[in-house]
Symmetry: C2
Subunit: 268 residues, 2 copies
Amino acid sequence: MKIVLIGAGNVATHLGIALQKAGCLVLQVYSRTEESASVLAARLSADYTVVPDEIRRDADLYIVALKDAVLPQLAPILAKGREQALFVHTAGSMPMDLWKGLVERYGVLYPMQTFSRQREVDFNAVPFFIEASSPAEVELLRMVAARLSPKVYEATSCQRRYLHLAAVFACNFANHMYALSSHILEKQGIPFEVMLPLIDETAGKVHELSPVQAQTGPAVRYDKNVISKHLEMLADEEPLQELYEKISKSIHHLPWSAVPANEGKNNS
Amino acid sequence: MKIVLIGAGNVATHLGIALQKAGCLVLQVYSRTEESASVLAARLSADYTVVPDEIRRDADLYIVALKDAVLPQLAPILAKGREQALFVHTAGSMPMDLWKGLVERYGVLYPMQTFSRQREVDFNAVPFFIEASSPAEVELLRMVAARLSPKVYEATSCQRRYLHLAAVFACNFANHMYALSSHILEKQGIPFEVMLPLIDETAGKVHELSPVQAQTGPAVRYDKNVISKHLEMLADEEPLQELYEKISKSIHHLPWSAVPANEGKNNS
């Protein structure tokens, strides 16, 4: 399986290294910026280019890991002269059909995970969502993904954009809650480290209980005493105060947050 | 060390069982509701009562794990005739001084964790924050807490209420983000289970990176394409849409969210 990577960001980097380790051959890396292209290419002992015309034409699979905004512009350029190849993108929110009419064989390989440059990824725990233009390509993508992870699922473009939206809440927004927590502690000179056991337990709980069952805290039991004290404490940080209020209301009022009394009492 | 537990909710239950296991003797459980008092007492082979006057007077330590709203009303009743005993509460937001003038020896034993009835707690990973009316009582509480956890810290009432506020963000609000994620998936017939690896990695990342460094997603790179698509997808759920917008803005705009370019690119 000869692969060309289009993009050299975090997704392309982590995916490229993992695929190489799994026995695939990354021929070439394309990126608009020479530095990122050359750094990733060196790690993979591959060629690189910053010129779309110089992207090789003999790969079996083109994995396109670019920002959503760039993808529709670049797709026709990538497709030209490579109409027989299989093109897939890794973005959760982009529909498969952006390749329709450009190439014959196309699909999506969406690894639902958060990738940071500074942290290794255990692909074994990453669910892959695949979709392709025909059953043969689905099977091919399943084989590729299965080299990296035991969790490979088929998902339509419509399902995938909801997966991505749900991932924004569970990952990006949850992480922002950590960031706000860290900010509050920092102002008091308390190291964020003390919060890690609670963060771990909060994540661990939803393996056993649904998030609605797992919900604890002043908002779910609507403890007005605590809530109004907390809002006072945030008086000098208006945006934070507003978020505290909106999220507390969402916990308390939204129908899917309804929990039976006593199920959700807690100490935080 | 003879203990009376005031309260029979999740905190009292988990704490009582752990203390008993650690060699303390729980003499009695008090709760306003007979059912919860008797259930916990049976688990601890202790007595129980629902009448404040019948609470025993011969314990070394009274651990008060009640809702914040109830605590100030009940404290004087508990104190009466037990002025020589050591009283501590477990609530993060209540100041130690609520005991001042009522009893001579008092303090706080705040286990910063989320406790649900249905899930066991590993106290070994729970940080305890202690505070007391005199150094002798601090040492006594340190000894008690150290039987349960290696992580025992002294914290003032002021620090503790900020710890509690920070815990609401890192735990309660993060969990609500899981709940909203689960709700979005449920409407599409996708099991929440697929989100667990991402949730685990999101929690795992902040052991290595600060939450600001760990931030990924459309909001941090301000990918307007994705953000406006997501807002459209939430058009029929106005409160959710509003939260999406506010949290995205908070990620993007607030000063503590500033990350250097390329540090925070991601796939979710």
